[in-house]
Symmetry: C2
């Protein structure tokens, strides 16, 4: 049997053509798409373009022996769409920049592209260009996402004020619990199989809260937002810092993911700690003025009924705290990427 | 003496702050700049946004023992601005995505950022966001550049027709000659020092033809354009392919860089081959309708008098040829990134 094609045997032009074939024809707002020196697209009337870039690095953000390349491609796009969601933007064009070893298999390449296109389609984003490079080391997947948003409906991190209520979407800790399980390379007990599948799924294929960010942004129900890529503690700190406020989070209100709670128990981990510091949940954190609470909750309902939980508030007093009973302690930081 | 700071000891927030400090305040069209989930900027009225991404990978595109990080940062931006120039776009916002080993020195980090900002300033582009990741392997520098262009003044690769004349800016082969010299790790003879400095400089710090692309695009003097990142042969092939034509290049007309010719002689290389297949010159190749020739040449003059040379034409007959005397041969391809 012949050796399978690799990206070295195919060459760049064939790889770009492979992507173009898989991507199909672009929508009308794309004037120049995949394959020219740059992509060209028409912004909406009266809309701002939002743009973000984020990368997944092999052995730092993913391991190819744990996760199929389809999911890696999906996640590379999802984490960028999550940033757009946190700005209240509607996704438009994506750029994909890949640095790949020469021996990277063509089948893995196609799977990666399929994952990229799958995540894009779910949020109605379109791949409009990118770049292919060789890597002498790890696979590096860099995605740039652009989106449009009306100038007065941008959700930044800086719009919060003392007295704003903090709301978080969904439930937290599942991605971190899934990662812990992968790290231990342990098979879960039979009664934990569902929880394990759910948590690993959340880690490998996070759902960007695109519709939620868009509808909340349009409703002007929230004053500020951030996505929880590095965990709740990091998100609260970033939002408070940018808004020039402090914050208090009530430990008893943090929505811990049910499957994560089960799995944490079995792994001897603290589920609340995973929910607060674990990261990679890609839920959204909103700061909401009390007088806009009804508009915010109505928008959340219109966005499809994703659960949302009030977990604390922004404060005039500086510092970011976790309150439990009569006690409080500093809300523990997210991790340092470079340590 | 204390060990110098590394990116691992500083952490992400301090690194982002370092970039923000060096970058200074953004212009008015930037609504949300460095440090939020995504950047937000206002496109021009009646203008398209152009967006491109390109990366430099250590040991593939540069070697840290040859080139200072200030130049690496400069080049990472320049190669993206060159793509915008080839579309006739005016540079606007840049995103910088870095994957760096934990032991990467803080001094090199600052030098890299300074190079990025230097290249940006020269073309009036603004750093508006990005991403920082850890790399377990090589340094990977990914830049996304956005620019604006009027819808009817976009220069794509696809606008050429049989009979169009092919023009190339500047002189070719210097970057390839500079790279050959670095590869041999040889000190040039005294009388070649100037040529060597010039050629290595072209390889390390290419000048994007921003003003030239912009003014030619606005003049509608050219029907198609491509930048010569992978060499003249690759550029002619890409333009002809996208335009659905063939092409003939006259070998005697190819403008070989004078310093490259000297250096090639000393290194036992063929200067014409370096000029045709060498790559990394980042000059522009234009296809010009004969009846628009005067408008094109007038625009080139307004753009600052960068020399431009007619080197051949697009043909109805398919194939891309190099003609010399009474002979012709296939125009040799650029290199395959992945081989």
């Amino acid at each position: 049997m012949a050796a399978p094609d690799t990206i070295a045997t195919l060459g760049e032009a064939a790889l770009v053509e492979r992507i173009r074939q898989r991507a199909g024809g672009p929508p009308q707002w794309v004037h120049v798409g995949i394959g020219d020196d740059a992509a060209v697209y028409a912004p909406d009337r009266n809309a701002l373009q939002v743009i973000t870039t984020d990368s997944l690095v092999e052995r730092v953000h993913f391991r190819a022996d744990w996760t199929a390349y389809e999911s890696v491609g999906y996640k590379a796009v999802a984490v960028n769409l999550s940033d757009l969601a946190a700005m209240g933007a509607e996704p438009r064009g994506l750029l994909l920049s890949l640095a790949l070893p020469g021996a990277f298999a063509a089948g893995d390449f196609d799977a990666l592209i399929d994952g990229v296109l799958h995540a894009a389609a779910e949020s109605r984003a379109t791949l409009i260009g990118g770049n292919l490079s060789r890597s002498p080391g790890p696979v590096v997947i860099d995605v740039t996402a652009t989106g449009s948003v009306h100038p007065r409906k941008v959700l930044t991190r800086a719009g919060g004020r003392p007295g704003d209520e903090l709301y978080v979407t969904g439930a937290l800790g599942a991605a971190a619990a899934g990662l812990r399980l992968l790290e231990r390379a342990a098979s879960p007990a039979a009664e934990l199989e569902n929880a394990a599948r759910e948590c690993v799924g959340r880690y490998e294929r996070p759902t960007p809260r695109t519709r939620c960010g868009l509808i909340v942004g349009r409703s002007r129900g929230a004053a500020a937002a951030v996505d929880l890529s590095d965990g709740l503690a990091a998100g609260v700190r970033l939002l408070a810092q940018a808004s020039g406020t402090g914050a208090v989070v009530d430990a008893s209100r943090v929505p811990v993911h049910a499957g994560a709670a089960k799995l944490a128990d079995a792994l001897g981990e603290d589920a609340l700690r995973l929910a607060i510091a674990g990261g990679e949940d890609y839920e959204l954190l909103f700061a909401v003025r009390p007088r806009r609470r009804r508009a915010f909750l109505a928008a959340m309902k219109r966005a499809g009924g994703l659960p949302v939980t009030m977990i604390g508030q922004l404060t005039r007093e500086p510092g970011v705290w976790l309150a439990g009973g009569n006690d409080r302690s500093p809300l523990s930081e997210g991790f340092n990427h470079f340590a």
